[in-house]
């Protein structure tokens, strides 16, 4: 039990007034101090206070950003508490944000109350820890109070919101017979792709004898691979940028979730690398279980505080499937991420970079800051553009989403057509017929 602010005030007032009353010989000062002096004895008459029993229960432990759930709290009084303040603390693991919600009630001995706390996911995707309660109760006189913490910690995974992607078919075409889409890669398969000239290494059994005789040189039938595409999404979490325009990691998580949802919906295999200086990949798999695995990992996305792994620039070969497509979501603020993407592009991977500009997120600076920082800002922007240009020169395709949705930016570069490079293993930018990737 602690002395309340009121008790302390009464104590000081009584002491001061009694002292002044005696020192100045003024009986009325003693009179003013009387009620305060008597009040100080009130805690002696108070009943002993016991903490109530709490039981918390959460409706859902997995949510998608934008929805909300309810935390049900059952409070059972062990003693009469005239005023009980229950503060629920919600902490978001990824960002360190703490949100508090308070309830006040008067509790009788043996009384059971059910309270509801609404858990909103408006702060964004993340790991939400709920169930930490702070109790503060006063005694009947208001002179004493008690406080205590009760932890019944539960965790809620808030998955990033998924936006529908349309017209972002960068790498393959709808197929006629098998499934929705063909693989963009040539290889052993059933579905015919094109007739091409025989080259060293082509199988003799694929020679089209009829056409070869007609045209006078050896021609072979080329086919599409009988498998779908492998996609690896790399999220650069080495840096963070947030402001009125949004939160980089949240936008990256939403973008990655949308891509994963899009490709798993097409039965493609999708993997994820949260690039935070270490490489702990989710290897490409297809199906809804894989999508959930990816969403769970994305909900745990947080800014890396790892500064020791300065040379984790090379993503090992075993993590990246041959002829895979790599989507990189980055703000290119950290040179380690830039070096890693540079390495991937120079190794011939088909790389689509989704560049989320930090300046678009932090918003406009106020006029004074803008003046002093404009020069530095311009140099920084030039450096960013230089990085993007060097990645582009290696064949990476760069999408620049204007806001939260990456779909329009991807559709834009899909519309631009086949400017991609030939990837490792003979990857071409599109099927022979049509000649582009749309």
């Amino acid at each position: 039990m602690y002395l309340s602010a009121k008790a302390k005030l009464y104590l000081y007032l009584t002491g001061t007034l009694v002292f002044l009353g005696i020192a100045l010989g003024r009986p009325e000062l003693m009179l003013i101090s009387l009620p305060f002096a008597v009040s100080l004895a009130l805690p002696l008459f108070s009943e002993t206070t016991a903490l109530p029993d709490l039981a918390a229960e959460i409706e859902n432990s997995e949510l998608v950003e934008g929805s909300e759930t309810t935390l049900h709290l059952t409070v059972k009084g062990k003693a009469k508490i005239p005023l009980l303040k229950i503060t629920h603390e919600l902490s978001i693991f990824n960002s360190g944000t703490v949100l508090r919600e308070q309830r006040q009630l008067s509790l009788d001995k043996g009384e059971t109350r059910k309270l509801k706390f609404t858990i909103s996911t408006s702060p964004g995707p993340g790991r939400y820890r709920v169930g930490k309660f702070s109790l503060c109760g006063t005694d009947k006189s208001g002179m004493l109070y008690f406080k205590n913490f009760i932890r019944q910690t539960m965790e809620i995974s808030v998955f990033p919101a998924i936006n529908t992607l349309e017209n972002v078919n960068l790498v393959n075409q709808p197929r006629l017979y098998h499934g929705y889409y063909t693989s963009p890669f040539r290889g052993e398969g059933l579905e015919f792709s094109e007739i091409k000239e025989y080259r060293h290494g082509d199988s003799l059994k694929h020679i089209n004898w009829k056409k070869s005789l007609k045209w006078g040189n050896l021609l072979v039938n080329d086919r599409y691979l009988d498998r779908n595409i492998d996609v690896v999404i790399i999220v650069d979490s080495l840096s963070q940028a947030k402001g009125p325009g949004g939160n980089y990691l949240h936008i990256a998580a939403r973008g990655a979730a949308s891509l994963a949802h899009y490709y798993t919906g097409r039965n493609d295999r999708v993997g994820l690398i949260d690039y935070d200086g270490t490489i702990d990949p989710i290897l490409p798999q297809s199906g809804s279980a894989q999508l959930k695995k990816i969403l769970t990992r994305l909900s745990r996305l947080r800014e890396s505080q790892l500064y020791v792994a300065k040379k984790a620039a090379t993503i090992p070969k075993r993590v990246l499937p041959p002829q895979g497509v790599i989507y990189g979501l980055t703000c290119l603020s950290d040179d380690r991420a830039y070096n890693m993407f540079f390495d991937l592009a120079s190794r011939g991977f088909y790389l689509v970079l989704i560049y989320i500009s930090p300046t678009g997120l932090t918003g406009n600076l106020n006029s004074e800051e803008a003046e002093t920082d404009s020069f530095t800002g311009e140099i920084w922007e030039l450096r960013q553009e230089a990085k993007i240009a060097s990645l582009k020169s290696l064949g990476a395709r760069v999408a620049r989403p204007a806001g939260d949705r990456i779909g329009p930016a991807l559709a834009e570069i899909a519309a631009e057509g086949g400017s991609g490079t030939g990837g490792r293993g003979g990857f071409k930018t599109g099927p022979a017929k049509g000649g582009d990737l749309r």
Binding site: L83, S106, G142
Partner: protein, 195 residues
Amino acid sequence: MSTRLFPANAGKINKSSLQQFFSIALPLAGTGAALYPALAVSAWWFFGAAAVTGLLSAGIKAKNFTFLQAGAVILIVIYLFSRPALGAAGFIYGVFMGPGVFGILELGYTLTLLDEKTLPLDTDAQKTARALLLPALARTLLGSAIVIIVTAGALSIAPLVDEAVLSLPVVFFLLTIVLAGGLYLVYRGLVAGRR
């Protein structure tokens, strides 16, 4: 939720009506207490009254007890400085000042604790009001009664004792201790009897 001072369901304690009533009544009580000698004695009380009213009203609005503490201290300090000018009326004013300031602080403290936005149900407003405001009112009345009893006791004893040996403040002090001790003993006796 009604925001009127006296809503349609007047008679029932409603969280909004209670809050609004006391948020107006307490500053008014403070102003009244401060204005009484102003009319009689000094223009300085007008400034004091304005400061106290402002502090009480800001304290209740901001749910911050510090403002109320400051208001109470200012009221007492102004009284101390004006006491010589008040003359004989100053003593009577002092008798009422104790319970007045005490009542304002009691109710004010309760109101700073209560936050109607965090009450889960409207019935909680009635329940917490019963559990907190009514005892606060009871304590104010008890404080006033004790002041009156002690004053009456001291004034009746004062002529009987030699002021060189026991001055009036000391008589008040001793009487307070005797009264508090007596009340506590009665209480313990009652509690022991109940057990």
